[in-house]
C-alpha cells in the first residue's frame, strides 16, 4: 500500500494526513467502522473501488454474488447475524436499481445496511449518460437516509454519517452514491466517527413518570399480554423481557421477526401472533385487559381487522420510532424509547404475580390447536410429507441452536410455527416486505457472518428459482449453508388463497420444476432428494454432518394449507383452525 505522507512546508509531523484516492479512502473508512465483509458486484463506474479492494483483501473480504439483489439480501442477513451493519457494493445504473428490492426489504425490517453505489463521472450526472440512473431519487422512499458524493474530500464524513444513521435509533438501510471521479480524486485522509447530527436525535431521555404509569397499569391488570417484536432483538432486550415476564407472570406472544426474542419452551410463551399465528394469542388478544407492545408496529398481518382488535385492552406501546406510535392502533400509554432501557427501568417497579388463571386460558386453547392442527401437521404418520413435520424434524435435531433462514410463503409460516426458537436461535426472514427470493442469498450472507452454528435455509420451490443463481456464490466461496427445499411444485401460499378465496381457480401457480438435485450437482453442491418420511431425519442428519453446503429437496404434499388462519378482514379472535 502506498501512503504518501504530506510533509510540505512546515514539516508538521504530528498532524500529517495520508494522501489517498477516494476509492481507497472509502475502504479505509469501512475498516474503521469494523467492516470485514462486503457483498457486491462490480461494474464500470465502481471499478476504481474494486481495484483498490485487491490491495485490502487481507482485511476486507469481498463476496461476489451473482446478482446485486443477492448481494443486498446477503448484506442484510449478515447484519442480522452479526449485529453489525452489512455492507453492499454495486455499480451505477442497473447495478444500483437491482438493489432496490433488497434495500426496501431491509427498510421494512429495520436492518442496518450501508449500500454503496457508484455513479457516473460528476460532469455526466443528469445527462442520461450510459449506465446513469437517479438512484438517490429511486432509493429515497426505501432508505433511512441517502447522499451523493461528488468530491473525494467528502467521502470520510459521509461514510461516517451513513454508519451512524444506519445503526442508531431504529436501524435501517442507508445509501451513499459516489461519482467515479470522486473515486479517482485524491484527498487528505483522516477519519472521525460520527456521534452527533443536529437534526437527528436517536437517544431519547427516559421519562420515569411514564415508566411508573406503565408499572401501575401492569400491576393492576388481570389479563396482561406482552407482544414482542423485532425491536426486542434489535435493542438486545431478550433477557430483560424474560425477567419482566417471569416477575409479572405475563404471557409473551411474538411477531414473526420477534420469535427468537423469547424461548419457545418457556411456560409463558404464548405463541406467534397474526394471520398464521397460534390460536391462543390471537383469540386471547381480544380478551386481554392490557397489551404491552414492545418493539413492534401493529402490522396488519398481526392485527387483522383493526376495528375489532383488542377491544377489552388498554395498550402500552414501547417503541423507539415515534412515528409508529398511534399509527395503526390508538394506544393508552406511549413510551417512545429503546426497549431495553424501558424494560430495565420497569422491572423493579413490577409486582411479583403468577396470574395462573390467565395463563391456563392459553394452555386450554393451545391444547385445541395441538389436536386440530399441530399434531396432524408435525406427526401425520402417514400420507404425504407435510412441511410442519420437516421443520419439526430439524427443530428436534438442532434444539434451537441454529441460524434459521427462510424464504417467503407457506414454508416460512411452517418454520415460524413449528421451529422451536430459543435464546440461541437467530431467525433471518423477510417480514414486512415478504420478498420471495430472499432465502438463498440471505443464507449465504448469514453463513458469511460466522455465527458458530449451522445456517439452515428453508426455501420453497418458487422462491428458490427467483435467486437460484446464488448457488454459484455458494460454490465459489464454499459457504456451508444447509438448504432444505420444500417442493410442492406450486406457489403454495397463492394457491392456498386461490383455493380459499377464488373458488379453487389455480391461475399461474402450478410449476414445472427442474431436477433440483441435479441442479445443485451442477454447482458442485452435495444434494439428495427425500420422497418418503422414513428418509427424512437421516437426510437432515447427513446434511448437518456434511462439511460444506448441502441441499435436501423434500417432496411435500402438493395442496396442503397453512392453518390456523385469520382470514382477510376478520378479527384476530375469529381465527379459524379448520378449512371447510
Amino acid at each position: 500500500m502506498k501512503e504518501k505522507t504530506k510533509t510540505a512546508g512546515g514539516q508538521d509531523m504530528n498532524n500529517y494526513e495520508a494522501e489517498v484516492t477516494g476509492a481507497e479512502a472509502l475502504l479505509k473508512c469501512l475498516i474503521e467502522e469494523g467492516v470485514d465483509t462486503i457483498f457486491g458486484y462490480p461494474g464500470g463506474a465502481i471499478m476504481p473501488v474494486y481495484d483498490k479492494l485487491l490491495d485490502y483483501s487481507d482485511r476486507l473480504r469481498h463476496i461476489l454474488t451473482r446478482h446485486e439483489q443477492g448481494a443486498a439480501h446477503a448484506a442484510q442477513a449478515y447484519a442480522m447475524v452479526t449485529g453489525r451493519p452489512g455492507v453492499c457494493f454495486a455499480t451505477s445504473g442497473p447495478g444500483a436499481t437491482n438493489l432496490v428490492t433488497g434495500i426496501a426489504n431491509a427498510f421494512l425490517d429495520s436492518v442496518p445496511v450501508v449500500f454503496i453505489t457508484a455513479q457516473v463521472t460528476s460532469g455526466l450526472i443528469g445527462t442520461d449518460a450510459f449506465q446513469e440512473t437517479d438512484i438517490l431519487g429511486i432509493s429515497t422512499p426505501v432508505t433511512k437516509w441517502n447522499a451523493q458524493v461528488k468530491k473525494a474530500a467528502d467521502i470520510p464524513d459521509t461514510i461516517a454519517r451513513a454508519f451512524y444513521i444506519a445503526r442508531s435509533g431504529r436501524p435501517g438501510p442507508v445509501l451513499v452514491d459516489i461519482s467515479k471521479d470522486a473515486q479517482f480524486e485524491n484527498l487528505s485522509y483522516s477519519y472521525r466517527k460520527c456521534t452527533y447530527i443536529r437534526s437527528y436525535n436517536p437517544v431519547i431521555p427516559l421519562h420515569i413518570r411514564d415508566i411508573e404509569s406503565a408499572a401501575v397499569m401492569i400491576n393492576h391488570a388481570d389479563k396482561p399480554l406482552i407482544l414482542a417484536g423485532h425491536g426486542v432483538i434489535l435493542s438486545g432486550a431478550a433477557d430483560e423481557l424474560k425477567a419482566l415476564a417471569e416477575k409479572g407472570g405475563i404471557p409473551v406472544a411474538a411477531t414473526l421477526l420477534g420469535l427468537p426474542a423469547f424461548p419457545q419452551r418457556h411456560r409463558l410463551f404464548a405463541g406467534m401472533l397474526g394471520m398464521h399465528g397460534n390460536y391462543a394469542p390471537n383469540v386471547l388478544t381480544n380478551q386481554a385487559d392490557l397489551i404491552i407492545a414492545i418493539g413492534m408496529r401493529f402490522d396488519d398481518r398481526v392485527t387483522g381487522n383493526l376495528k375489532k382488535y383488542a377491544p377489552e385492552a388498554r395498550i402500552i406501546h414501547i417503541e423507539i420510532d415515534k412515528a409508529e406510535i398511534n399509527k395503526n392502533v390508538r394506544v393508552d400509554l406511549e413510551i417512545n424509547n429503546d426497549a431495553r432501557e424501558v424494560l430495565t427501568a420497569l422491572l423493579p417497579l413490577l409486582r411479583e404475580k403468577s396470574r395462573e388463571k390467565w395463563i391456563r386460558e392459553f394452555r386450554i386453547l393451545d391444547r385445541v390447536e395441538y389436536e386440530k392442527v399441530i399434531r396432524p401437521e408435525t406427526e401425520p404418520g402417514e400420507g404425504e410429507i407435510r412441511m410442519g413435520e420437516v421443520v419439526n424434524t430439524v427443530s428436534d435435531i438442532t434444539e434451537g441452536d441454529a441460524v434459521i433462514v427462510t424464504d417467503v410463503g407457506q414454508h416460512q409460516m411452517a418454520v415460524a410455527r413449528y421451529y422451536r426458537f430459543s435464546e440461541k436461535s437467530i431467525l433471518v426472514t423477510s417480514g414486512g416486505m415478504g420478498t420471495m427470493g430472499f432465502g438463498l442469498p440471505a443464507s449465504l450472507g448469514a453463513a458469511s457472518g460466522n455465527p458458530g452454528k449451522p445456517v439452515i435455509a428453508f426455501i420453497g420451490d418458487g422462491g428458490f428459482q427467483m435467486t437460484l443463481q446464488e448457488l454459484g456464490t455458494i460454490m465459489q466461496y464454499q459457504i456451508p449453508v444447509k438448504i432444505i427445499l420444500l417442493n410442492n411444485s406450486f406457489l403454495g401460499m397463492v394457491r392456498q388463497w386461490q383455493e380459499m378465496f377464488f373458488n379453487g381457480r389455480y391461475a399461474s401457480t402450478e410449476m414445472v420444476n427442474p431436477d433440483f438435485v441435479a441442479l445443485a450437482g451442477a454447482y458442485g453442491i452435495q444434494a439428495r432428494s427425500v420422497t418418503r418420511r422414513e428418509e427424512l431425519s437421516q437426510a437432515v442428519g447427513t446434511m448437518l454432518a456434511a462439511e460444506g453446503p448441502f441441499l435436501v429437496e423434500v417432496a411435500i404434499g402438493r395442496e396442503a394449507n397453512i392453518l390456523p388462519m385469520v382470514e382477510p378482514g376478520a378479527s384476530v379472535s375469529e381465527v379459524t383452525l379448520t378449512y371447510r
Binding site: P141, K144, I197, R198, S199, D321, A323
Partner: protein, 186 residues
Amino acid sequence: MKQEYTISLFTEDHIGILSRITLILTRRQINIESITASESAVKGVQMLTMVVTTTPDMVNKVATQIEKLVDVIKVFVHTSPEIICQEIALYKVTSRGLMSGSMIGDLVRKHHARILEVTPEYIVVEKSGNRAEITDLLAVLEPCGVLQFVRSGRIAVTRQVKELNAYLKEMEEAERGGPEKLEVYN
C-alpha cells in the same frame, strides 16, 4: 373532520430533503395546497411552510413521519387561529380597464394594495393578505381584464412565544458532544 393545517418545519439545508417530505404526503394522498421554502433566522436552517387539508389524526401521523427524517430538525402543526399568516399576490391588469373611473384610488385605499408598475398597456398591482382578501381583489379586477395573476405560498409565524432558536439550544444542551455553533442573523 378535514380541516386546514399549516405545517411549518425546519430542516438542514441538504439536497433532497424536500423530495423526502413530499413523498410522505404523496403516499397518504394529501395535496399540498401551498408551499414556501426559505432560509430561516438561523443560518443553515431552512424553513418550509406547507398548507394541507386533512384530518387531525392524519396530520399528526405525517408530521411525526416528517420529523423522523434525518435532516428535519423540528415540525410544527398549526390550525389557522394559532398563526398569523400572509400570502402575496401580483395582478397584471390592462391599463385601459383599470384607468377607467376611480378604480386605482379605490384599490389602494380599500384593498391595501400597491401599484408596482404602470405602462400604457398594463398595470401591475401587488397585494399581501390572507387567501380570501387576495381572492376578493381578483374578483374586483376581473372586469378590468386580468392579463396575469400569481400568488405566493403561505408564510406564517406562530402566536406562541417559544422560538426555533430555543428548540435548537435545548437540543444542543441535551447533547454532550461537540455541538455545532449557531450563527443567528439579526
